[in-house]
Amino acid sequence: MSILLNEDTRLIVQGITGKEGAFHTRQMLDYGTKVVAGVTPGKGGQTDQNGLPIFNTVQAATDATGGNSSVIFVPPAFAADAVLEAIAAKMQLIVCISEGIPTADMVPVKLALNNSESRMVGPNCPGVITPGVGKIGIMPGFIHQPGHVGVISRSGTLTYEAVHQLTERGIGQSTCIGVGGDPIIGSNFIDLLKLYKDDEQTEGVVLIGEIGGSAEEEAANWIVENKFTKPVVAFIAGQTAPPGRRMGHAGAIISGGKGTAADKMAALKAVGIAVCETPAVIGETMEKALAAR
C-alpha cells in the first residue's frame, strides 16, 4: 500500500474550468486518476470537456459523487478560501497547487488544518503521485515507475530529476510528494516520514530539501528519536545561494544566518543520513543505500 493516494482516492478538481485546471484534469485522467467531479462557482450543472460534472461548491460535489480528496488550481488570491472550503467539506487529502498565496492568508488555514481531519499537501507544489495508481498534481507521470522508494521534496523539477535517476536505475517509487516551496505548508517532512514509517511498500526515502526554515533539521531529529530505520538519502539545494535573497520559492531564503544548506547537510549527516554532495548522484546513492541494508 502506498501513502496518501491509493485505489480508493476519488478526486474533485477545484478550479476545473481554468486553463491550468482543465489541462491537468485531462493529464490526471490519462494517468488513471479517478477524477469524479470539478468545482467552479457559477458553473454548477455544466460538464467539463471530459464529461465530468461541475458543481458550485465542494460540498455539493462530494455529496453527489462521493469525492473524498481535492486538488486546487485556484488563483492565489482565492486559494486560501478554496482550502478552507475543502476542509469544511471534510476532504481527506487536499493538494494545493496554486503558487503565490499571501502568507497572512495561510496562517489561519494552517490552524484550521490542525483542527481538522484533513491533510494538505502544498501549496506551491507539484502534488502527489503513486506510480501506476494515480497522480494528483502537475508532475509528468511517465518518468515514474511503481516500486518501493518514497520521495519527498520542497521542489518541483528537482524532484523529477531525482525520480528520473531512480527510474533509470530500475528503482521504482511508492509515493512521491512535493511538499511545496512556501514558508507555510500543509504537510512537512516529519508528517510524511510518519506515514512512510508505517507503509510496508516503502523501503527507503529520498528527501530533497533546500535553504530556508528548519524543516530538514527537524526531520533529522525526528528520524533518530523515532528510530526510522529505512534508509534515507538526502540532497539540499542552495549550497551556493547568497544570504538574504529569496531563491524563487517564497520559503527559500537564508535569513539572519539561519537556514543554510551547510547547516542542514550537517544536521542530516550527524544522524547517519546519506547526504548527496551534488544533485547528480541521488539515484546512485539510493541504490547503494538499499544494497547496504
Binding site: F23, Q27, P76, A77, G100, I101, P102, T103, A104, D105, V107, P108, K110, L111, I138, M139, P140, I143, S153, R154, S155, G156, T157, L158, T159, Y160, E161, H164, G181, P183, I184, I208, E210, I211, G213, S214, A215, E218, F235, A237, G238, Q239, T240, A241, P242, G244, R245, R246, M247, G248, H249, A250, A252, G256, G257, A261, E277, T278, P279, A280
Partner: protein
Amino acid sequence: MKIHEYQGKALFRAAGVPVPRGFPAFSVQECVEGAEKLQGNKLVVKAQIHAGGRGKGGGVKIVAPDAVREAAEALLGMTLVTHQTGPEGKLVQRLLVEEASDIARELYAGIVLDRSTSRYAFMVSTEGGMEIEKVAAESPEKIIKEWITPGQDLKVFQARKLAFALGLTGVQVKYAIKTFMALWQVFKQYDCSLIEINPLVVTRNDEVIALDSKINFDDNALFRHPEILELRDLSEEEKSEIEASRYHLNYIKLEGDVGCMVNGAGLAMATMDIIKHCGGEPANFLDVGGVANAETVAHGFNIILSDKNVKAILINIFGGIVRCDRVAQGVIDAMGQLKVSVPVVVRLEGTNAVQAGEMLQGSPLEFIVAKNLEDAAEKVVLASKGGSK
C-alpha cells in the same frame, strides 16, 4: 519588497507608532530648508539605502542645526559600503533629517513569521542597537517572544508581558503597550513579512519611540496594496533583475562567470550547486518557469549576457509538461536571432528528450550537448575556462 526607513516611519506615524520628528530630502537645499522647522540643538542626518549597518558605514551624522548643510553634502552622492551592501556599496540619493532623541535605553522590537509554528511572533530584546542575529545566536534567552493567535491580534496582556520583560516601569509600560499594539496593526494592515525596530528607544521623558524602521512586505500580497507598491525604489534594485521580472523570469545576479538557465527554482539552485562542485562559479540564478519557449529563452539569454562576466552558459531543462523538443526549438530560434558570443551547453531531459537531442545535434549552430546533469556541469565549467568545445 523593501522600503526606505523614512517611508516605514511614515507608515508608523500614521498608525500611531511614535517616531522622531523629521522629513525626507532629495537635495542639500531641501535638507537645509526643512531643518529650519525642526527643534532641538542636535539633528540627525541619515542616508537612506536598502541595507543595514548604515551607522557603522558612516551613513549617519549627528550634527548641530547649522551643520546640516555640511552633513547633507557629505552624504548625498556618496557610495555607502556596509556589511549588507557588498563591497561595491550603494549610492546615497535620499536622506532623512530628524530631531535627535534624548536616549535613556536602546531596545529591539520585531515581528516575523515563526515557520516552525506557522504563527507570527512578536519579539523584543533588551539588546537594542546590536546585530539581532548575533544576539539570537549567542544569547537566545535575551530575545523574548509572544506568538499571535492566527486570525487574531496581539493582545494587550501580551504587549504588557513584553513591556515588563524589557524591564520597563511606570508610564514607560503604558507607552510601550501603545507602541507594540500599533506596530502589530502596521504589520497586519500591509501584509508585512518583517518589521524590525533597532533600536527602539526609551527617552529620558519615558516615551518609547522607533528610532529606526525596517519593513519588508510579502510580495505575494502586494496585489492588495497598490499604495505600498508606489513606495518601491527601483534604483535600489539590480537593473537586470527588474528587466527579468518584466518577463516573469526569476533572476538573481551573482558574482561568478558561468551563466545558467533552468526551469524550476529547486533545480536552478541545484544546477548552481553542481557548477560550483565542478570547479566553476555560478553567475546567476535564473528560473524560466514552466514556459521555456523561444521567447522566454531569448529573454533569458539577453539577461544572462547583460552580465559581462559570463564566459559560458548552461541551459538545463527537465521537461515534464514542457516538451523538450519545443524547448530545443526555442533554443535554436533564440540562438539564431541573437549573437551569443559565449559557448552554450544544453542539457534537456524528460518529455521528448531524444527528439530534442537530435534537433540540437542537427542544427548548424554551435551547441555543446550534454548527456546528463554532471556531464553538463563539467562541460560548462571547462568551456568557461576556455577549454575545448
